[in-house]
Amino acid sequence: MPTATPISRVNDFVVRFANVNGSGSASANEMFARAVLRMGIPAAPRNIFPSNIQGLPTWYEVRVTEANHLGARGGTDLIVAMNPQTFDKDIAGIEPGGYLLYDSTKPLPASKFRQDITVIGVPLTAICNREYTDPRQRQLFKNIIYIGVLTALLEMDVKVVEQLIGEQYKGKEKLIEPNIKALHIGRDYATLNLACPIGLRLKKSSKVGDRIFIEGNSAAALGAVYGGATVCAWYPITPSSGLADAFTQHCARLRVDKTSERAKYAIIQAEDELASIGIVIGASWNGARAFTATSGPGISLMQEFIGLAYFAEIPAVIFDVQRAGPSTGMPTRTQQCDIISCAYASHGDTKHVLLFPEDPAESFDFSAQAFDLADRLQTPIFVMLDLDIGMNHHLSRPLTWDDSRKYDRGKVMTAEELEAGKEFGRYLDVDGDGITYRTYPGTHPTKGSFFTRGTSRDRYAKYTEEGAPYVDNMQRLVRKFDTAKDLVPRPLLANADKPTKYGVIYYGSTAPAMDEAIHMIEAHGHALDRMRIRAFPFHSSVNSFVADHDFVFVVEQNRDAQLRSLIVNECGIDPVRLVPIPHYDGTPITARFIAKAIGEHLDKLKVTPMKVSS
């Protein structure tokens, strides 16, 4: 008998699948997550996978959350333990009162289990061996069979899963019937042999609404299609390859000329990241909208070119889907660890524009906007996703586009303007915003041509190593960066219900965990004003937010509190005022972590919790 009361919760728990990489479990597990969503219950799945094709452990976690807490929670209420390699560790991770579903074909000693959990054995291998002769089928259908078991244990709507099977194998109808059969083999076994349902149950709800289920990489790639990108150059690297793949698929669907059947886009899988960014810069210089997608190691390789684009003032859009560094680091784990290396990328004095989307919908928005910003500011724009946003499916608001929207191509002088005698100086600031006019190559036979170079030059693009024009140019670049502050997405502010001396700053994929953590923190009687930063350079409201509070916590997913350093450096703030809350073990940050860490700090600061009013 379990020594802890079995957890009893409806639409609020975490199911974790422990599998062996390459065993075909991914599609079955994802189907489970989709089924939860189809029942109208919000869910947040996360794939925890190794840098490996076959054999290493992999986990798929589904947080079922009627309350819409879409960040990772931590802990497991029900584990589907299909990997003997990680069995002990998987069992150790179950919350007291939780549940274990395992393959009981081979008897296991009692010492393998815990006393405070409910152990549910299903002889999955024996069932598969009885039903199937082909070894591959035995493996693949085992995954569907355990989904069938779950439908009974969790009181799921089996019709929903059947429908999803139908959709998944649309076009391969032969596979529908055997999958549905496998589903029912599992379901029937559970109904006959197990106590169904268990304490964790799924109940139809209406909390999903019109939201969509999408990976950030796909949304960002679609943003590039909508933002008018025509040239994409990339080099395969986890976790950003999916972005280029998605762009390829979206273009094949949306960007093929109907009459000629030819492509209104060009995608190059380059020989390395240097060539990728070089192609982007060449294309942008020539008036196309171009981007590359990469991760930290790629950013390191692109440094020299990024400096060229900054100094020669060439638009470029760079998606950095961040993963845990340094070096190869943990290539399949998430972090926000490239903030400094992107903000100040390249040698010499440089500063770059960074955008921090929180989820797929914002990845779509910021992606499209990045192309306008790159053209307007004539400089590289970094869209800072991370593995958690990019590679996991998220429940996200639907993507929207305003059909009246026009691309902002920035200051481009036309042949007509040149012909009319308008003065052209490639680096001549005519209106004080630090942004100068450019011309596309081939515009006019005798006017408006210039030489683009990474060396210093005067306002008319003429090579010079004189100090005064160099300083003049560098000052103008600072002016341009100031202009950017009002063009980039502004921080979002959410004030606590009552006045407080404490605030918290966060960004990117930390958002859902922070939104959840704030409830936990408030429940302890603390109040925090919140600011979600969405871009660098920082808007002036960041300074005032820090000025308005005694202490501001900066929650981020890296060791060195990189965004905090950036705020200290760029806003001239006393570092003591900014308390770092770093999370960097490669797992997505959780509300539990944030609430605990901030709580401890508030305790240290001797903040007396206010009485919680009933």
Binding site: D210, I212, I214, V225, Y226, G228, T230, V231, A233, L254, R255, D257, S260, E261, R262, A263, K264, Y265, A266, I267, I268, E271, L274, A275, S276, I277, G278, I279, V280, I281, G282, A283, S284, W285, N286, G287, A288, A290, E304, L308, P398, L399, T400, W401, D402, D403, T439, Y440, P441, G442, T443, H444, P445, T446, S449, F450, F451, T452, G454, T455
Partner: protein, 351 residues
């Protein structure tokens, strides 16, 4: 010298080409390279080739890397946009530019350090992709701007100005270009304008990756006895396989040749290359034979020059990517943005 403005004055009777441009309209600023530099002769050859081809100067994009050779695009085609990028990375910048606007003419100018050392990868990949460009390497075997270190094209056993012997094997970029599938490969010598100008013209007219390795002696650091890239050495060991006359599609063939001594090659734009054969058995369309010939002659210490290979049905990167005819940089929101209706459909597929 840069502080000396180039005089704008020109003789009123200077010959004009089809578009009414004179030779002077294809010039750039005054060269800052050393007096007698082979690169300046190449600049002069490019100017003459563009003038004779009646190219509108602003329809050319000239792109280079870093080094003495990469400085030269400022010295020709002053009304063209130019891009002096980063060391060894001209090919990627040119590739991107070409993808953005397929209608311009792309002239990539590089050196042996730029293309054979730091940029060997980008050289190789731009060639194998078949980017429509004329890729010129001004090959002097040394790093000039950093004062005379060997480059990767310096021959094994050749002597530096300071007396060091190069013990590393050399890279033959023309041989590599052949292996990598370039549609047009030539080698020439900066001191042989008669040979060089028609080769540049033919390369510009070629659709696809056209590569020209031009031996261009460095008068400051690699023109001494013991160098295999000096004026004297190249003159003595130059083995031209053919002599080329280039005729645009608009020009009738007027010259009569002895039968059997010439080969006429028609390019995709209708232009014709008339080759007077110097090496009797040299087969212009046989990639493998050309590679073999280059290696055999190199082993004998000979420098093979001339048009080494032309592909009859060359294709370029845009053909491989099936891109639309309109330059990608001219497409507007209307052609590029699928709009809200398509987005709603997409949203619906994700529920």
């Amino acid at each position: 010298m840069t502080y000396l403005a180039k005089p704008k004055f020109q003789h009123p009777d200077l010959p004009k080409n089809e578009f009414g441009y004179t030779h002077r309209d294809y010039e750039g600023t005054v060269s800052t390279l050393c007096a007698g530099c082979g690169h300046d002769s190449i600049t002069a050859a490019i100017i003459q080739a563009c003038f004779e081809l009646s190219i509108e100067p602003h329809r050319v994009a000239k792109i280079s890397g870093i080094g003495c050779s990469s400085k030269t695009p400022t010295y020709f085609l002053g009304n063209s946009h130019g891009f002096n990028s980063v060391h060894g990375r001209m090919p990627s910048v040119l590739t991107g530019a070409n993808l953005a606007n397929r209608d311009l003419i792309y002239l990539g100018v590089s050196g042996d350090g730029d293309s054979a050392s730091i940029g060997l990868g980008q050289f190789a990949h731009s060639i194998r992709r078949g980017v429509n460009m004329t890729y010129i390497v001004e090959n002097n075997g040394v790093y000039g701007l950093t004062k005379g270190q060997f480059s990767a094209t310096a021959d094994r056993g050749s002597k530096s100005k300071r007396g060091f012997i190069n013990t590393d094997n050399s890279i033959d970029l023309a041989a590599l270009a052949l292996q990598l599938g370039a549609g047009f490969v030539a080698r020439s010598f900066s001191g042989d304008k008669q040979q060089l100008v028609p080769i540049i013209k033919a390369a510009i007219a070629h659709k696809g990756a056209a590569f020209i390795d031009i031996i261009s002696p460095c008068v400051a650091f690699n023109n001494h006895a013991g160098s295999t890239k000096s004026f004297d050495f190249v003159r003595e060991h130059n083995e031209a396989v053919n002599r080329l006359d280039f005729m645009s599609s608009r020009m009738p063939i007027e010259v009569q040749y002895e039968p059997g001594t010439v080969e006429v090659v028609e390019q995709h734009d209708g232009s014709k290359l008339t080759l007077r054969k110097l090496a009797a058995d040299y087969e212009l369309h046989d990639r493998a034979a050309a590679q073999g010939f280059l290696q055999q002659q190199a082993a004998k210490g000979q420098i093979v020059t001339g048009l080494l290979y032309v592909e009859r049905e060359a294709e370029d990167l845009h053909a491989h990517l099936h891109t639309v005819d309109a330059p990608l940089n001219t497409l507007s929101e209307k052609e590029l943005c699928p709009g809200q209706a398509a987005l709603e459909k997409f949203n619906a597929s994700l529920r």
